[in-house]
Symmetry: D3
Subunit: 318 residues, 6 copies
């Protein structure tokens, strides 16, 4: 049973729209707070969209997700879990990432995660664009000394070759970079949900060449999501694995608030089932990225993103 | 064949966006109008959200539903029904419910319904938050002298124990209250679509303890909606039953404009099939609640709500 | 291999949100541009909603579709096609259609298409309301000298009898008119996705009487979309056929920005599969109509419409 | 003192967001209602935008204005007037105007007004685009047998020569037409607020040639609105006069929801003062036009339009 | 010089959109935090709209104001003040106010303020609807033992007699109640900006009868805001005074996101000048109320509200 | 009289919402188009927001401004100018600026402008964020060999010292950089409209130290805008000068769609008068920057920005 300090207030005591909105209403602990020593899973934000090739706004993602996440209640009835009771969770704030200097931003992000890891806190990041994920992977790689697996739920592989005249660090490249740098073990990586128009086929080819299991949406729909996730579990295996969830995995009808939406995606019930299927894997870190509030007039994307984060949190627990 | 007085004007005569927007363009009859004597089914609004624990705005629901409902045409082609011809329908206006005094509001609402019942008019209510339904149930109970069944399509059971330090009358409690008060016969009650995070399991437990048939979304998706509705019909049986449709039954991609959306719900085709499956039951009253126009920038929720009301109206007829 | 002049710039060279937004970033060629002689497929707009019986705004459709279409990339990975390389495509601009004089507007539209056809350019029209399609059908009929088939994906048949006191030219009548005028061969016409309330059954009856194959949404969902499209291919056969895609074919959760939305429709994955299934037919022209940007706060409808246009473009090629 | 039947319910009895939304919550009287005999001032809508040269949507204006107008209370504190007590006011509904046939629409509109005039009801019209006004002017002219004066508050003169290849009936021409037809006495016409870019100067020149007093925004701002209105009263004199208020008179910051906004206009305080300054003129009819709800995401334009209508109603009374 | 602990991070260190959004990025201190002993001015929210007679949503005001307030920088250049350096400011969180029980909510609010006062913290409240203010006034009255003055900037007097059949506690009544209860010294109360339609004149009459100085908008515009504020300062005098700012003081073009907007109000420059003119008064507490984010699609109202709060904070300091 | 080729089509021939949206409907000329030799004033976009410290989205500015600018007509009635007839104007497209590499982006932008200048085309840039302006200033400086004057209408001086740990190139620094680099002659620079909270006073101090004439909003309002602009003309004198217009000069009620809005600004009438007052200066280039469409739900900001661009175009001509 976790520490009472880490229990969020119930919506029947303090209404859900009330209070300073930290992630899931968890306590917010600054870097020097001694209570961080007790934290198991650390929520934090990377409010940065400096690698976005299309519509910006993911810098506002962590704020939007925090706001919506206060509507989450304590219990996951479908799984019976009460994740705030089985792990000490906290909001560790946002990384101070320069919006005008990519190198500084990425360095600050990696440093922030490394500090968490040094305190034995599992990172749970809210983006920001997808390049943010690379900084978490790098910090995990340094800590662990060897590559690990990954499950990616996304409409894009993010394995593209350089953009814009040779730029290797954009939100279309993080996993190509992570494989090249040896953060990820491509044979234990699986990607599902890919769709939309493409510049060319180089991303898939890179994945195939390195042994990544890529499942385009047509294959997913044909197999059904249960089978997709069974394959995913098999590919990843029992070793340590990272989970990255790009909100554009979902059809834009469900998640319009994102930078590069692709039509023809799964619905929210399917997405939730996919996340629940991850339970039992050795998840060493996770993220939900690419929520862009300026493109989300109804607020649906923020709410869906926060709901997915809750399911991810549950999947990270026994 | 119903009275010509009760036929709404066709959209090919008066464009659908024209005219004073009563429900489905039906005649609006004030309480003292003698033509109420001929009414079979009475549409009316409860513009009230004083029991809302989360985002407000359902007080604007009746207005929004009236507006959207003027886009409805005369015929349900899927079922072949022309419901304005087989029953005299009218718009009986809105209940004057105090936004600042819950007791007065609930009393006024119950009185309004009782007056309709006294005129032998079947109530068809547009909410308003879900506590509004309790007032209809109470009025029906008084009239009939015994409890009746209910079909609830919703993402929540609304069977929760008291909120906010003991408050038994919120939009999370109406059916607990209705069962406790003896309005509903729990053994003839069925609830489908339940999902989302939960404070705890007390609502389900209350339902189970009283014999309510609760089908969480996972069960619904597993069984398929046809089976779900076959079970529902079996549970309810041939006796009198009320139908309550909370717009948050639908996934927020379909119905963002509501106070407490829960992701992972059914789509609109499925929702319509569920309603159509109710035809043939002995429906003694119905409602559609929790449409909150301020959270509906595209207007989709109002239009979907009005479309569901039309299907409900058809289901209430032979 | 198509002419390099007709290749749109890549989003990795010029960001997708940059530049003057022509359709798919293709070259814009005025009527007197000599390079039109090399064009195989001509995109153009009919910015007109003068036959709209409900909510207007489709006059802004071509502008909105152009804007969103710049997010399209070069390759259709699902089919392996690179349609800008296998046909010379261009943006031929918009027809100058009077918003205040229906006769003039329709004449101008037909003349514009006839000029394209005289240059041997296959027409690919972005509406505008659905009456715009009639002008394309008329021009094609004049050129070809005989009726042809049609696939209509829509929530309405648009086979209604006159509206508003005898008006035969509204967006509810184009195909009744086209059949009556001999543009379409009804025995080779198929319509799928029909749903929503109806004034009466005269439109279906007209279709049945003339041999049009109409598949209401219930039939489509029952059969599954693959079967639906197999039937469609059989009905249309090997002869020349036109494809008309009304954006309200999709459920309003996917496409809220339209004039006459009908709930209970297909999702975007299904819609895409339907379009892909058309490949191999002898498509002599196509359109996507009824996108109304003023009712599209999230921009989803424009983006979905542009994505469907890309799939239609692929389906028009071997 | 007016008839109690014509008193709208107070917002402290029935909340302002409740009830079927007629104009100002007044009784809605159908054409054959005998109580029309007692009506002094008749509100009605012309839900039509078939003469709009730019962004459409004014067909939704009457609906939007009715909705917002229910927030109006009984008393104009600035003037001390209680206009529903000093005149019998009612909502006479909307004209059934064909959206697809301009001639029919204009004929229906003129007929509707003529019927009101025959019952001695002063017309108070909610548009609809500005061509709607012409139908009111024509009906008044027929009744009265001679031209009358007019005050126009607008950003455009609407005195333009034919548009779109000779079309004389667009929303840019009504007053040129009305002067040409002899409805208006140009020497007793005043127009204030004109601004924005122009096709040419022919509209002003037409006005000058016929003796219309046109005050461009620069002159208005230089003189101050009190002086502007003093001039307006002098020009119009003691004879009968019509008042037409185009919502685009206001700066788009105040009224974004309109078809042809022009920046650099007056604010709402100034607009209200202008309307109040009309009191005491012999106002034979009035309108407020060009509110287009699809372009009004905040609802400000509808609310401002309804507020201006209330001030106009007060100005029409002693 | 204030405590470094109380300095918010600069936007050039941590971007303004980053981090957990407390008011003005100040430290958030729970009720039992010992550092509250050092606080001079305490920001807090009353997320409650249970007394709203019209459009709800002010319960979301504190959240929205916190979010926008993170865009505020350290210095008021116009006045030269750096208010976070001259007073220790903190965010004390939100009161847990029941959305379904008015009595409980008001009691909780008053208790929260009393606790602050007991710690010698000046209250600075973000609403919530205007009835929230009454709880602050009551707590201050209890503490001080005698009535005090008030400056109200608002479009309504909120001096209305009971609403909805005798309800004395709505957002239209707080100051009538506060005067009746002896919280306020009416002779030292001034109200400016009043406008809009009115149920009757009883509110003004109550004010006049008790000696409140009420300045309707026409008087304000005639005198000019400098004179208005000079009068206000004179009326209030040197004694202790409360300042209440209702966001609907501003014209809806500036502040659409509020429950009861009234057109014809001041602009934002004028509003700021009014607040600055309060500097030097003995301000014992202040609030900004009636921001309703669901009616604020552009976010302008939240940002304006936060900016006004900053000016109020400066006015509360020497 | 300018070349007929350069006349935009009239809105009475091709409706204003029709056609491919180039700036002001002018011909779009690619870099290698020989007709560029005849161009006097070249519109172009810098779709880039990589230096934005707050809310992003200005990368979408050129697209949004082009779209809205098609509503502009040919004549400026207030000044009598027909600017497309007195200068050959064209749309030269957008600069291909990398969203992920600031150095490359700025170099590309400067190169694009230098190429225009080499063809003797006066640059008229649509931003993008305010750092874009620096690239124009640099190109002009290289061409001319000496510093020049500037008029800045803005709510910020953009003279701030480095941000984010020493970054000198953000949208808060361009003019400090331009003065330091010798592009601008500070003694001939004037800045008006400054307001809002501030990190500190270093920007003003830098300006004062270098002789820039800075007029904060309080001074502007006190003097009146005519006097402000008279001073501006005097400071700038007869020598060459650049004009930069940041849309956040206007109050957010007029221009919500921008990254760093500041309340308390001028209205649109005042802004237009300011621009008109620039006529007669020796304007060697101009821009309008910081329009961010994702924050502009009503589209008002785009329309206002396009309208201001038209006035700037007129001010650049005799």
């Amino acid at each position: 049973m976790s520490n009472p300090f880490f229990q969020p207030p119930s919506g029947t005591d303090l209404p859900r729209y009330a209070g300073v909105p930290s992630f899931m209403r968890l306590p917010y602990l600054k870097p020097d707070d001694p209570r961080r020593a007790d934290v198991d899973i650390g929520f934090f934000g990377m409010p940065w969209d400096g690698a976005t090739s299309n519509r910006p706004g993911a810098r506002h993602g962590p704020r939007g997700l925090r706001d919506a996440s206060t509507m989450i209640r304590e219990m996951n009835r479908a799984t019976g879990q009460t994740p705030f009771k089985t792990a000490n969770c906290a909001d560790l704030g946002d990384v101070a990432m320069s919006p005008v200097d990519q190198d500084e931003a990425l360095a600050a992000a990696e440093g922030f995660v490394s500090a968490m890891l040094a305190q034995n806190i599992r990172p749970f990041m809210a983006g920001g664009d997808h390049l943010c994920t690379l900084t978490v992977l790098r910090a995990l790689r340094k800590l662990r000394g060897e590559p690990f697996g990954m499950v990616l739920l996304d409409s894009h592989t993010d394995l593209y070759p350089p953009y814009f005249g040779g730029k290797t660090l954009t939100h279309g490249n993080p996993f190509r970079q992570a494989i090249t740098e040896g953060c990820l073990d491509p044979a234990r990586c699986v990607m599902a949900g890919m769709r939309g128009t493409s510049y060319n086929n180089e991303d898939f080819q890179f994945g195939y060449d390195h042994g990544v299991r890529i499942m385009a949406i047509e294959e997913c729909m044909e197999l059904g999501w249960r089978t997709v996730m069974a394959i995913a579990r098999e590919v990843v295996g029992k070793g340590p694995a990272y989970v990255s969830f790009d909100i554009d995995f979902l059809d834009p009808a469900y998640a319009p608030g994102t930078g590069t939406p692709e039509v023809g995606g799964p619905n929210s019930f399917e997405a939730i089932q996919c996340v629940r299927a991850l339970r039992g894997l050795d998840i060493i870190g996770a993220d939900l990225v690419e929520v862009s509030p300026p493109f989300d007039p109804s607020g649906n994307t923020e709410w869906l993103g926060a709901s997915i984060m809750f399911e991810l949190l549950c999947a990270m627990q026994p």
